[in-house]
């Protein structure tokens, strides 16, 4: 099933010649062959320790992620979102499934597309909406965008834009915890693109030599903005890079939410019990552009269609129904509940005022030691 991207001149791709595009060795070719229902349609792995109640909780988080993003797009179109919206459509199972495997004491550093992980960590949609709308009640009080904030109690270390930078930071989280005899796991997300940075390499190398409980989730969604993976790395699988650090590497079908959970659970047990760092590659696909403004001119319709068929929400829904874990009525009730929560939280965020202008001057340093950075006086001012 070789899919050609239609990019003009792609065949002249020098060093990249003959390498594969998204889906040619896609999610389903690599791990053990995926589970299917009686009609041949994809479902999730049936090998799991998760009970029905947990599976339904997982379903709720997956839907919450998708529907929060859909609402963000609506708000964006109404110009209520001030910055951009970066969708995780088609890859939500990776963030939700992997994060669900952690304990509440564990820490994550998500990327912009890991809203699902942030929600699993207990951040409420209202905080996300207020943050996107640059409102005063948002967790950064209007100072930063999207999921660029943090919550130490919930084990959420907010990212910065600079890709790769969170890997050394999460190494430090694990180091600091170990120095205090805390048995936590530090899990960081990174993209196929972000793995090319020096910071990624330096941080993971340090974690590896220190045998720190750092888990890297390499989200292989085939594009970094417009750049395909074949121009990002010469290895076949991102997990192959693990060998270079002397740590175990695993590949998982990133659209199989249960498989994502299982592989991360095992990695967390291994890391927590002293095994050290682990690299997990989740093969998935970014079905939207880099952000809402991106026309995806570099992507072929065939490729998109193929991945639409592998939609993680459809797939998990089918799993729950065909495996008789839930009835349609139960799932409908979850969707209704999620919608209600979103409606409430959007209303809350809309009610929030914009931040007070002068607030910007506070908190660069500890203001009890260094005064706030107010606009400087020009001579003659009192």
């Amino acid at each position: 099933m070789k899919t050609e991207t239609k990019r003009k001149g792609a065949s002249k791709q020098g060093a990249a010649k003959g390498r594969k595009d998204a889906g040619a060795n896609g999610a389903n070719g690599v791990t053990s062959s995926p589970s299917t229902a009686a009609d041949g349609e994809l479902i999730c792995t049936t090998e799991t320790t998760l009970g029905a109640e947990q599976l339904l909780e997982l379903y709720r988080y997956l839907l919450l992620t998708r529907l929060v993003e859909e609402r963000l797009v609506n708000l964006y179109r109404q110009t209520k979102v001030v910055g951009g919206v970066f969708r995780s459509l088609g890859q939500e199972a990776t963030a939700v499934g992997t994060c669900y495997a952690l304990e509440s004491r564990d820490f994550i550093a998500p990327l912009i597309r890991d809203l699902g992980a942030v929600l699993v960590k207990g951040i409420r949609p209202r905080e996300i909406f207020a943050q996107y709308m640059a409102k005063a009640w948002g967790p950064s009080e209007g100072r930063d965008l999207n999921i660029h904030f943090g919550n130490m109690e919930k084990g959420f270390i907010g990212p910065i834009s600079h890709l790769g930078d969170m890997i050394p930071v999460m190494t430090g989280i694990a180091l600091g915890a170990r120095m205090q005899q805390k048995e936590i796991v530090a899990l960081a997300y990174i993209g196929d693109g972000g793995m090319s940075t020096g910071a990624f390499h330096e941080g993971l190398n340090f974690a590896a030599v220190q045998r720190l409980p750092v888990i890297i989730i390499a989200e292989h969604n085939w594009y970094a903005y417009s750049t395909p993976t074949r121009l990002q790395t010469a290895v076949e699988n991102l997990a192959d890079k693990a060998a270079g650090y002397g740590i175990p590497g695993h590949i998982v079908d990133g659209n199989d939410i249960i498989a994502c959970y299982e592989v991360t659970k095992r990695a967390a047990d291994y890391a927590r019990s002293g095994g050290g760092a682990v690299l997990i590659e989740a093969k998935t696909y970014r079905r939207k552009g880099h952000a809402e403004h991106d026309d995806q001119r570099y992507i072929s319709a065939e490729e998109l269609e193929m991945w639409e068929k592998r939609d993680p929400v459809d797939r998990f829904t089918r799993h729950l129904l065909t495996q008789e874990i839930a009835t349609q009525a139960q799932l409908d009730a979850i969707v209704a509940d999620v919608q209600r929560e979103i409606d409430e939280d959007v209303a809350w965020a809309e009610e929030s005022p914009m931040p007070d202008a002068e607030k910007v001057a506070y908190g660069v340093f500890d203001n009890s030691i260094v005064p706030p950075a107010f606009r400087p006086k020009i001579f003659g001012d009192k």
């Binding site: 003009k8 910055g83 834009s161 790769g164 417009s226 319709a301 269609e305 202008a357 606009r375």
Partner: protein, 342 residues
């Protein structure tokens, strides 16, 4: 829900001259230099098929092919280092940072390798490092930086930042032809600003690096500025004219090496100076300009030199916060009135 959106796309060669926006002027400049000189090439993240995050390099891939329009991994250190190496071999790279904020992973390569090559062993590096800078579009702390002061203290790097379409084209061409590393900063607010559309000459031209321009002549006080703040300065000057104040606006265009002559000539003419820049005030380029004036034209001053700049915080996201953070026209007006009355 179908997401299949593949569009037929073809970006045409830009006109030679004609009415152009700021961004179109940069694109014309790069395009013409690539036509003129086969050693010129473009390197950066998403500069090829996508045409760059802001589309500065749109169409170059179709015209010049993948050999000369190179999409890189996300690695600014590799972009800068490889540009330097290729330059040593006689090529002329034009490297793009997706946002100038992401120059930071390339900082080591720029300040230690690029800046010092000629000085250490006579190896000039004809390289251009360009990208969108600046705030005011609600992009928050990591997509808004003005980075000139990070580099001003490193000998060996030229820094330019145009404020008109004419200069944007003339300076990118000059930067590409320059024998040394040039940082070329483009304020993203200017890219498609209708106000900056202007008729460009059909003929080849450059704007000399190291030369400021008088954006508006005046006698009562000088505003020394550059980049997008030139527009604020001109707007303030127009308002002050109604109050009977005749304001001169100097657009530096090149920040390193700075056009001291132009600055000092204006000081000697108006005797009062307001320095305006968008980067935070402390450690900003304004301090350097003020010190130069104090050292070399103290006796010409009728008032203290005044700086108007951003306050010393990161650039915040939310509009009211960002507005407070950034210098506004009203801040310029207030400072100018006090200066005039001094």
């Amino acid at each position: 829900m179908s997401t299949a959106t593949k569009k037929e796309h073809k970006s045409n060669r830009p006109a030679r001259g004609g009415v152009a926006t700021f961004i179109e002027a940069i694109r014309q400049g790069i395009w013409e230099e690539m036509e003129r000189d086969p050693t010129v090439f473009v390197i950066g993240e998403d500069v090829g098929a996508y045409g760059g995050a802001f589309k500065v390099t749109d169409g170059l891939l179709d015209e010049f092919g993948e050999g000369r329009v190179i999409d890189t991994p996300i690695s600014e250190a590799a972009i800068v280092g490889a540009a330097c190496g290729a330059a040593l071999m006689g090529m002329r790279p034009v490297a793009e940072f997706q946002f100038i904020d992401f120059i930071s992973p390339g900082f080591d390569m720029l300040t230690n390798y690029a800046a010092k090559c000629r000085y250490r062993w006579g190896a000039g590096l004809p390289t251009v490092f360009r990208g969108p800078c600046g705030a005011g579009v609600h992009s928050g702390p990591f997509h808004s930086v003005n980075a000139e002061a990070f580099f001003l203290n490193t000998a060996g790097l030229k820094i330019v930042e145009p404020s008109t379409a004419y200069d944007a084209k003339g300076l990118i061409k000059a930067a590409i032809r320059d024998p040394d590393p040039v940082l070329y900063f483009e304020h993203k607010k200017l890219y498609r600003l209708p106000r900056l559309r202007e008729e460009l000459p059909e003929d080849d031209y450059i704007v000399e690096i190291g030369k400021a321009r008088t954006a508006r002549a005046g006698r009562d006080l000088s505003i020394i500025t550059f980049g997008a703040q030139v527009l604020n300065a001109l707007d303030a000057a127009a308002e002050l004219e109604r109050e009977g104040l005749d304001v001169e606006v100097i657009d530096l265009r090149t920040l390193a090496p700075m056009d001291k002559e132009a600055i000092l000539a204006s000081v000697k003419k108006t005797n009062k100076v307001l320095i305006l820049h968008e980067a935070a005030r402390t450690g900003g380029i304004g301090g350097e300009i003020a010190a130069t004036i104090a050292e070399e034209a103290f006796e010409w001053l009728d008032a203290p030199v005044v700086r108007v700049a951003s306050i010393d915080t990161p650039v915040p996201y939310s509009p009211p916060l960002e507005e407070y953070h950034l210098p506004q026209i009203k801040d310029v007006l207030e400072a100018a009135r006090k200066l005039a009355a001094y």
